[in-house]
C-alpha cells in the first residue's frame, strides 16, 4: 500500500520569506500523481499544485513550486514571498494512475506565517 509521510508537523515562516515543506512517499508504481492541498482554518481544503510522475519538469503555480525527485520519492513544496493568507494546514497526497482511485494523504503540516 502506498504511504505518504510529512515528517514536520509544524513550521513557521516570516512574511515575505521562503519556506519549503517536505513530503516523502512510498510506492512501487511508476505512474501516479502527487498533490499539495491547503486547508486554512475553518475553511475548505483547496488544491495548491499537482505533479504527474511522468513529467520531469517541476510544476509551478505562481508563488508555489515543487521539487519532485522521483528516484528519492520526494515531493517538496516551496512557497516564495510568503503571505499571511498562506497560513494553513498543508497536506501532501498521492494517487495511482490506474487501479485504486483513492487519494492517500499525509498527516499534514501546520504552517504559521509571522508578520
Amino acid at each position: 500500500a502506498q504511504t505518504v509521510t510529512q515528517s514536520q508537523p509544524e513550521m513557521s515562516v516570516q512574511e515575505a520569506e521562503t519556506v519549503t515543506l517536505s513530503c516523502t512517499y512510498d510506492t512501487s508504481e511508476s505512474d501516479y500523481y502527487l498533490f499539495w492541498y491547503k486547508q486554512p482554518p475553518s475553511r475548505q481544503m483547496i488544491l495548491v499544485i499537482r505533479q504527474e510522475a511522468y513529467k520531469q519538469q517541476n510544476a509551478t503555480e505562481n508563488r508555489f513550486s515543487v521539487n519532485f525527485q522521483k528516484a528519492a520519492k520526494s515531493f517538496s513544496l516551496k512557497i516564495s514571498d510568503s503571505q499571511l493568507g498562506d497560513a494553513a494546514m498543508y497536506f501532501c497526497a498521492y494517487r495511482n494512475q490506474g487501479g485504486s482511485e483513492k487519494l492517500v494523504f499525509g498527516k499534514g503540516m501546520k504552517l504559521t506565517v509571522n508578520p
Binding site: Y33, I46, F91, Q97, E101, F105, K107
Partner: protein, 114 residues
Amino acid sequence: DAMVIQNPRYQVTQFGKPVTLSCSQTLNHNVMYWYQQKSSQAPKLLFHYYDKDFNNEADTPDNFQSRRPNTSFCFLDIRSPGLGDAAMYLCATSRERLAGSEQFFGPGTRLTVL
C-alpha cells in the same frame, strides 16, 4: 460562489443515535467522496460515488452508509454513532474519476458524539 456545501457545519449527537450529514454541489461533477478526518490525522476515504455507482472502501465500518439520490446531493448516514466516530467529515467532488482530477472539498461537518 459556494461549490460544495455541507450541512450542518456542526452536529452534536448522542451515542447510538442515528445521524445524517448532507453534502450538495453546484459543479455538476460525476464523483462525490466522503472522508473522515480525525484530529491531527490525515483525511481517510470512506466511500465514493461515481454517478450512481457506489464504491465502499474495504475498511469502512458497516455503521457508515451513504446515499446519492441525484447528481447534486450525497448523504452520509451513521447508524449508531460511537465515541470513536467523532471527527470532521469532509465531502469532496471531482469531474471525473481520473488520477489527476482535482478534488473540490466542502468546509466539512464537525461531528460530536456525547
